[in-house]
Symmetry: C2
Subunit: 162 residues, 2 copies
Amino acid sequence: MLKLSKKSEYALMALQSLGNLAAGERIAVPMLAEQRGIPKDLLAKVMQQLKRAGLVHSSQGVSGGYALARPLTAITFLDAVGPFEEALGLAPCVDRNSEGCDRADCCSLHDPMEALNRWLMAQLSTLSLAEFVAARPPVVHGCVKAPRQPTSMERRPLPCEA
Amino acid sequence: MLKLSKKSEYALMALQSLGNLAAGERIAVPMLAEQRGIPKDLLAKVMQQLKRAGLVHSSQGVSGGYALARPLTAITFLDAVGPFEEALGLAPCVDRNSEGCDRADCCSLHDPMEALNRWLMAQLSTLSLAEFVAARPPVVHGCVKAPRQPTSMERRPLPCEA
DNA sequence: CGAAACAGGACTGAAATGGTCCGATTTAGG
DNA sequence: CCTAAATCGGACCATTTCAGTCCTGTTTCG
């Protein structure tokens, strides 16, 4: 879970690099690809998708290249990664009433999964790339295993409820 | 992202069903599989893994079956789903210093991803299955798209810091 | 002792993923 | 004007992952 695709990884890398550019400056895919050590052709595709998503601007021609459409503080993690995770979000039967799954019959987990998904998306859309790339792992190590005292999902309110 | 595998889905279903059993009662795989409409053999494997993970108890023999090892309030979402998401957690270069990735060179995203992963795992380990299966999606609809005001990942403190 | 359950390895077909290749279009510079 | 270098974008392929099946044990109740 939350195993991001390579495309997502490359997108994050690229956006980070673009964030280091001076105002008005551009960078071309071949250059970027060599710097980060990623396949040129694949990165090209990623950049195209980022453009379609409106996160970057491009200019064609011999001295063309890419630049951020807005600062990293105004791009969320979900923005960056969403275009590449088509199965964006979740799990079992998102594609609701396709086959079977008449609700409450086979798949009584539809609603919970949708709730969890919504929550996750909301969380990831409150994390800007600027914050993300600056993050360092917490010193705590046994963290994942430790807490065995369940709390409510609602205790961390969704941003839109505020 | 967060696209759970079928096994995870089946595990959640099975655990939910097991939660509805009377104390001391068991249910066999063939029965369970038919009730929820999932392939018998696959479910069998899932149950085996759940047993290895210590979430359920099994008894063999002709009237054997499975039962919860502890109540749903004491099983977290991460517990249930973890065993089936080997790529549990995250993304690009978790397998740290395997090839390349000498840190800060190609993959300056290693630390941020690890931080994000830790955070997610921590969150999912504070959600009990009891809460999960009872969850309903919030009425708000434009929720995912709405918030464009980035906040810090640290603002939602990790449980282990408390 | 036999039917029915768990236990678990081996295998297969389909789908997704990462990556490559090639052609078309645009555009700066000589 | 013409070429080199860049963005576009479709087609394609190889490898892996995944869902599902099969088959052979082993346990245990009646």
